[in-house]
């Protein structure tokens, strides 16, 4: 490993790499991000490797294990370079055919292609698939092209040219100005202008300053940062190094949640390779600038995503937030000026330095420039990670990119911002995704979690879910958060349990007020958001639960019952056998009956009853019809044939 000592040497090295790479050489890129690994991608890779060996092609065809390109719904996913043929839901058994047909014979295997659900058209090239076509993948685009464990791959796609430029052509102040001009706003959720934050840290007195990558990504349902860290850790590392230079810091930290072992592994490896090549350490690229980075794992606490809690955790303490002011830019890690930014924010930095601030300002809205990665999940067809320009409408994300709601169900709401956010109903689907626009409708951008909900989602249950999450994740130090959330959760539990009372909504609103106004940190301060927001848009559901003891979406267990319609039941025994609580009685010719005492409301019978019978009904707010008498339960099939 040669140590690269100057920008000129870097370009030489890069030229050397490119000269040794044949752009026409076939390469099978297999996504080995956590999602595809869970679907068996490792076996797919092994199958390819074995098949190549069998056919004696190891030296002629490359296999590249890459990070996540986002189309998680269709994994395991491969892209064959240079043609960019995209195959979806690849199984190990397909390896032989892919190599023989596509690699050697240059034939396309139709059954592995993406099929447009409306036109039926089969699409070959990755970039033409509607899921990708409507995105702008500045940050994720390289994921399918590089092996995240290889710095050479990163250099081959232009990596570290931004750092070289910053160190050799810009002063630290100029770099700060570039970031300010780009109007990059923090991608962690609060949306504070990154350039301004950098400037505060830069201007704080003191020689010891720290820069930190917040990779705690605690919002349940959000995994954008995981994909960036697993798939392109060098991009974040390069951004961090540029930031350290701009602010005047020589020591940096990645704070990565321990629930992401692959991200921890890839970041650690990236740091090691960067050190070997001279992109970290002393006198980086001959600039005189020194910088070292360490990886620090989280230990399972959502609150540590809050910057002051994160710093406490970095110091080996419990993650209790600190009051601000003083802000971390003035008094942060070990009371020194510290700049913390989210993974995605850091990943934007090399793009700004290489291409200028216009790279961001030319996309998006005035108040929200650049792109944003969202994890589009829940009741949506194309579940996965999408990177779109700010200013795109929610409708376009959900329908154009996401392919709409599956199963013919009706869209109900889209939840953004995690436990600090809100659910946006249908009438606001045409708003532009923008920090300020989302606030206006009572939600927030958040870190990027975008959970689509349909008619089967109960909004009271959603509010209860988030409060339940927060009551365990709150550090518990301050009264309004600990006790306020505790009491709000009690009320919501009562409402969803059929014990709601008149005045509950008003009490919730009063508690919400105190919790929001007087909490020590933003966890408590934003905890009431999901409650207030669902009351705002779905008050009718709350009222149905309280006044009629009815759950319109058939979710709240205490308020629903499953019932087998004796007119429709054909005694096929499927539900009887599958019932995990053995609550269904009946026989081959005996109409099935659910014992309401034993029923755990798991919904299995409802799911497995064959569609042509459609005999299981969900009831809510009405009494369950008593079982028909034993004698009437015998199915007389002969009479039906008559």
């Amino acid at each position: 490993m040669p140590r690269i000592n100057s920008p000129a040497e870097l370009e030489e090295f890069r030229k050397d790499i490119m000269s040794k790479r044949d752009p026409k050489r076939p390469c099978i890129a297999v996504c080995t991000g956590t999602g595809c690994l869970a679907l068996g991608a490792a076996k797919v890779v092994a199958a390819f490797k074995e098949e190549l060996k069998k056919q004696g092609l190891q030296r002629k065809v490359d296999i590249r294990e890459t990070g996540c390109p986002g189309f998680c719904e269709r994994g395991p996913l491969i892209v064959i370079h240079p043609e960019e043929i995209c195959y979806l839901r690849v199984q190990p058994g397909d390896a032989e055919e892919i190599i023989s047909q596509t690699i050697l014979a240059k034939k396309i295997i139709d059954r592995l292609l993406y099929v447009d659900p409306i036109t039926g058209e089969k699409i070959i090239h990755e970039s033409e698939i509607p899921f990708y076509k409507n995105q702008k993948r500045h940050l994720l685009g390289n994921n399918i092209k590089i092996d995240p464990k290889s710095i050479v791959d990163y250099l081959a796609v232009g990596g570290y040219s931004a750092l070289a430029k910053a160190l050799s052509q810009e002063t630290p102040e100029q770099v700060v100005e570039m970031v300010k001009d780009s109007n990059l706003r923090g991608r962690g959720g609060a949306g504070f202008p990154a350039g301004k934050k950098w400037e505060f840290a830069r201007k704080s007195p003191g020689d010891t300053k720290y820069v930190v990558v917040n990779a705690d990504e605690g919002d349940p349902g959000a995994f954008m940062d995981r994909a960036v860290l697993e798939g392109n850790p060098f991009s974040v590392l390069e951004g961090l190094t540029i930031g350290a230079y701009a602010i005047g810091s020589h020591e940096g930290y990645f704070y990565v949640r321990q629930e992401y072992p692959l991200a921890v592994e890839n970041v650690t490896l990236a740091i090691k390779q960067a050190e070997e090549y001279g992109f970290l350490g002393k006198n980086i690229l001959g600039s005189g600038f020194d910088f070292t980075v360490k990886v620090h794992r989280g230990a399972g606490a959502f609150v540590c995503g809050e910057e002051t809690s994160l710093l406490r955790s970095l110091e080996g303490k419990p993650g209790e937030p600190r009051a601000r002011p003083p802000y971390p830019a003035v008094k942060g890690l070990r009371d020194k000026p510290t700049n913390i930014n989210n993974v995605e924010t850091w990943a934007n930095i090399p793009l700004i330095v290489t291409n200028g601030p216009e790279f961001l300002t030319s996309i998006g809205t005035k108040g929200s420039t650049g792109t944003k990665i969202f994890s589009l999940v829940g009741k949506v067809n194309n579940t996965g990670l999408v990177e779109v320009p700010m200013g795109i409408t929610l409708r376009d994300i959900i329908y154009k990119v996401g392919g709409g709601v599956p199963g013919g169900k009706k869209f109900k709401a889209v939840q953004t911002g995690g436990p600090s956010g809100g659910c946006i109903p249908e009438k606001h689907l045409d708003i532009k995704v923008d920090f300020d626009e989302l606030r206006k409708v009572g939600a927030i951008m958040g870190s990027g979690g975008m959970i689509v909900m349909d008619e089967d989602t109960c909004m009271v249950d959603v509010a209860k879910y988030f409060l339940n999450f927060l009551t365990g994740e709150s550090c518990g130090k301050c009264t309004p958060c600990r006790e306020g959330i505790r009491q709000m959760l009690k009320i919501l539990t009562n409402i969803s349990g059929g014990k709601g009372r008149e005045g509950d909504i008003e009490l919730l609103e009063e508690l919400a007020q105190t919790t929001r106004d007087a909490s020590l940190c933003a966890l408590g301060g934003t905890a009431p958001n999901p409650v207030l927001n669902t009351i705002r848009y779905f008050r009718d559901e709350y009222e149905a639960h309280i006044k009629e003891k009815r759950c319109p979406a058939y979710v709240c267990k205490e308020l629903i019952a499953y019932h087998i319609d004796p007119e429709k039941c054909q005694a096929c025994m499927i539900c009887l056998r599958k019932c995990p609580a053995q609550a269904i009685s009946g026989g081959k010719k005996q109409i099935h009956v659910i014992d309401q005492e034993k029923c755990t409301k798991c919904g299995t019978c409802f799911e497995v009853c064959p569609a042509r019978f459609d005999a299981v009904r969900r009831l809510s707010g009405v009494p369950v019809p008593p079982p028909i008498p034993e004698e009437a339960r015998m199915i007389v099939r002969e009479s039906k044939q008559k």
């Binding site: 869970a38 919002d219 080996g316 419990p318």
Partner: protein, 150 residues
């Protein structure tokens, strides 16, 4: 866990209080739980008072102060899995194993935990057993999966 092993772990990090969580994570990973003697050793060597260590191991969910079962089940209760039916899955797994999240069964066979999003939302609801991911887990399927574990 003997002192030599613990000291090995401690020596990998700077010997000051800020290494506390990293050290405990490594001990937890290797030993699968944190026995009291290990905590006392860490307290001595890193010069951190026991009350802070106690707070940390109860504050952060990665740590376990009781031995874990042979097989660790993690049911994802992230928002995406939640709207896809994770509560029903969790309820069924609880019934099958006889334990609640945070508990280990009497035979030390299974330990159950909930986890707030493993980042596999496309496969929701997700259940991870011993690091192996099982996606699209309808409650009824969980019995078949758990049967495979001795």
């Amino acid at each position: 866990m003997d002192n030599a092993k613990i000291d090995n772990i401690i020596d990998k990090y700077p010997s000051d209080p800020s290494s506390l969580i990293q050290v405990l994570l490594d001990i937890q990973h290797e030993n699968r739980w944190l026995p009291e003697e290990a905590l006392k050793r860490v307290s001595e060597k890193l010069r951190v008072p026991l009350n802070r260590i106690q707070h940390i191991i109860t504050f952060y969910k990665a740590f376990s102060v009781v031995p874990k079962g042979r097989h660790e089940i993690h049911v994802c209760t992230g928002t995406a899995c939640h709207v896809r039916g994770a509560p029903r899955l969790l309820s069924t797994v609880q019934d099958l194993t006889g334990i609640k999240p945070g508990e280990t069964d009497q035979d030390l066979k299974f330990s159950l935990e909930t986890v707030n999003c493993v980042g596999c939302c496309a496969l929701g609801p997700v259940m991870v057993v011993d690091g192996e991911y099982h996606g699209n887990m309808a409650p009824a399927k969980s019995e078949d999966v758990l049967k495979e574990y001795e």
